[in-house]
Amino acid sequence: MGDVLKGVNRRGVLKGGAAVGGALAVPTIFTSNAWGYTNEPTGGSVTLGFNVPQTGPYADEGADELRAYELAVEHLNGGGDGGMLGTFSSKELGGNGILGKKVEYVTGDTQTKSDAARSSAKRMVEKDGAIMITGGSSSGVAVAVQAYCQEAGVIFMAGLTHSNDTTGKDKRANGFRHFFNSYMSGAALGPVLKNAYGSDRVAYHLTADYNWGWTTEESVKDFTEQQGWQTAAAVRTPLGAGDFSQYITPVLNSGADVLILNHYGKDMVNSLTQAVQFGLRDKQVNGKDFAIVVPLYSRLMAQGAGENVKGIYGSTNWHWSLQDEGSKAFVKSFGQKYGFPPSQAAHTCYVQAILYADACQRAGSFRPSAVGAALEGFSFDGLGNGPTEYRAEDHQCFKDVLVVKGKENPTSKFDVLEVVEVTPRAKVEYDASIFGGELGEFNDGA
């Protein structure tokens, strides 16, 4: 190896050192002024960044999220019928953009990979000048992008993310979540499951192997065990596995009589379909009918799984069949534009976009700390979930939780879920400190 260094002399090293030193000094040229904030909008428009999965296991949700964002932008700019702007309890938004600036947007593909998601968020912030990042359909991605937004000094309005971590141990001051979480699902499902299946059941968990799966498994386990259930085993499955047969076969021999599928998106469609094809639901174990539970349900998934979802319990953040004014207005304008009802992913993303716009309007600025302060502790109504509050301690929205069941006699291909119970907010609330983590300070960036 000495051969390689032939020709390297002291002078050469000194020269090289000088070059490297010079190279490191160059960036000072690019240092921007300290008084502004990241991507402060100066022209007549403001750019939002929609970071959604366009490929991978959650691509269906991502496509629906993008539709909702496009609709929200249309409404914010005064187009269409205004959707939920008409029913929203805050009347600051007048259909002339945000703070008089026309709303424009850029999109990115998270691919449901933390790496790719951060990279596309970076592109939108660094290249396209996005003032806020929103979207996503995975908690792994949400936590990664939220951490990036904190560092970059932009607001992150989480899309569909259900893990306790997002506003728990991984919470950040610049991040806000409207969607509910695993804890709330568990708290709402526990009593309903007890009423439906009794209190002497043995559960077997199949869990998507990332932070959402882990916290959902933990929460559902806690709350079902509080009802007297036992847990036979909890098995982790890789995200996007496709074939779950090797995980389903052992279930029957485990002595369990309930299978809990902590899966989402295409994973849930596949695992549920395979579990039904294996005949689990026709079995009798311990003298009881075998049951399957899906803690986080969505209409898109239920549609994907077709016949198999009939009679299966789960929880959801929102469902298009709700009859409050906000939901009706949203379903109407979404349906008029796209020809089918929105999913819960679309709903939460639409609401997040509107909430962000409204907070900017109320704060009179796009500065992240000002917008964040306007969102903290903000109580509102008319956005489809009834009275809702953005809790200041962890930037988590608190509202009623829906427990749903696969409909036995669907009237259309969209009418696959029925709401069996609305669990009031008080029953799913918890102390903000139980999951650990710290918000830290708002970061306005450069």
Binding site: D3, V4, D109, K127, R236
Partner: protein, 397 residues
């Protein structure tokens, strides 16, 4: 070693389109290279690449490809497992952040070292075979590492969620006193690795990496590696044991990959298993071949073009295409967009495939061969001109 892949490029080695292997020519190349790299934030603006994240990627994947080229370009050993070193380097760097603190020097150092050690272990086994068997062995090792990182070693790698730096990590050398818990951004003695600062750090590393690769190419050791590629059997007949040389090359290129992996963690303190996937290993092979195997600048050129086209084509979507072709009547625009739509967005790999096929068929020496052909053509034209005007030939340089 005479694999099918190595055969066509081996011809291109002696007459690569760069200045002759004199120390003066090398210095010129290095100087031009440094100038081009450092001015990247300026010249990349018109082509829509002038933002830190993409420029950082150019530099990082440049380092990765340079290292891969030291193995593949010089010895002809085609490794399909370099992503394992890249991912390993990332994980080690993030662990260094978590345990030691956010200073990037230990992270880069340990990442590079780990890349080397890991390569030593895998190379020791894989280099017992050559040709396709070597490729398959490296692929198998990389896939094993990927699956380990993805599900088996979850406590160490955090599986699908990815390994991140948390506020309550030990970070023993970070100043966490007085309520200040430090930012979770890598820093070089206080200089935070974000935006252009991070780019210039990666660019400096790229320049050093390039310089070392240049030294290796010109050294007797490099000559020995080329000899392994041209005829390993003959080398063995002369009584020379080639394996230590090949292993050294493998370890060096593993260190480059580990370095690139740790740089990825420096610019973004996060490591995920997908960096170890076989697609990442395949990507660096494509970069090297696309740019020009066995040339000094080729792999960097390949890395830059692949990352650039990835960025351009994958960000496009159907509605943007419809906008672009809105001037055409609907009956033409719609079928056109539905065909072109296959090549953009998630289908951009199709574009890459077509591009790759064209290059391999028409320019087996990669982009560098293209550059050489163009310059040869220009030179010829110039020579003809001077011939005609003065009737006297002057050397082109």
């Amino acid at each position: 070693m005479s694999t099918a892949t190595a055969a066509p490029v081996s011809k291109a080695i002696p007459q690569v389109g760069e200045p002759k292997a004199t120390s003066k020519g090398d210095l010129m190349t290095l100087a031009i290279f440094i100038a081009v790299v450092l001015t990247a934030p300026i010249w990349a603006i018109p082509i829509g690449a002038g933002y830190p994240d993409l420029l950082q990627k150019f530099a990082i994947f440049g380092v990765f490809a340079i290292g891969f080229n030291i193995l593949f370009g010089l010895t002809g050993y085609l490794s399909f497992g370099h992503a394992a070193f890249l991912g390993g380097g990332s994980y080690i760097a993030v662990w260094s952040f978590k345990l030691l603190g956010m200073n990037i020097l230990p992270a880069v150092l340990f990442g590079t070292l780990f890349g080397g050690l890991f390569a030593l272990a895998i190379g020791f086994v894989a280099l017992r075979r050559s040709g396709i068997y070597f490729s398959i062995l490296t692929l198998a090792f990389a896939q094993m590492s990927y699956n380990l990182a993805y599900s088996v070693l979850t406590p160490v790698t955090n599986g699908e969620t990815g390994l991140r730096v948390l506020r309550d990590d030990p970070r023993i050398f970070d100043d966490k006193s007085g309520g200040y818990d430090g930012t979770l951004i890598g820093n070089l003695f206080g200089l935070e690795m974000t935006g252009y600062t991070a780019f210039y750090f990666c660019a400096s590393v790229l320049i050093i990496a390039f310089y070392i690769s240049q030294r290796i190419f010109r050294s007797p050791f490099g000559l020995m590696l080329r000899a392994i590629k041209n005829n390993q059997t003959r080398m063995k007949f002369t009584g020379l044991n080639t394996r230590p040389y090949a292993l050294t090359a493998f370890v060096i290129s593993g260190m480059y990959a580990g370095l690139a992996g740790s740089l990825m963690a420096v610019t973004d303190p996060l490591a995920g298993a997908e960096r170890m996937q076989w697609t990442a290993s395949g990507e660096v092979v494509l970069m090297t071949i696309l740019g020009g195997t066995g040339t000094l600048l080729g792999p960097i050129l390949g890395a830059v073009s692949i990352k650039y086209f990835e960025n351009i084509f994958s960000a496009y979507n159907k509605s943007q295409l419809l906008d672009t072709f809105s001037f055409l009547p609907d009956s033409i625009a719609e079928p056109l967009v539905s065909v072109l739509g296959l090549f953009v967005g998630e289908g951009w790999h199709l574009t890459l495939g077509v591009l790759f096929m064209l290059i391999v068929i028409y320019l087996p020496g990669g982009l560098m061969e293209g550059a050489r052909r163009v310059s040869a053509m220009l030179r010829k034209r110039k020579a003809e001109k001077t011939d005609a005007s003065s009737g006297q030939t002057t050397p082109a340089e």
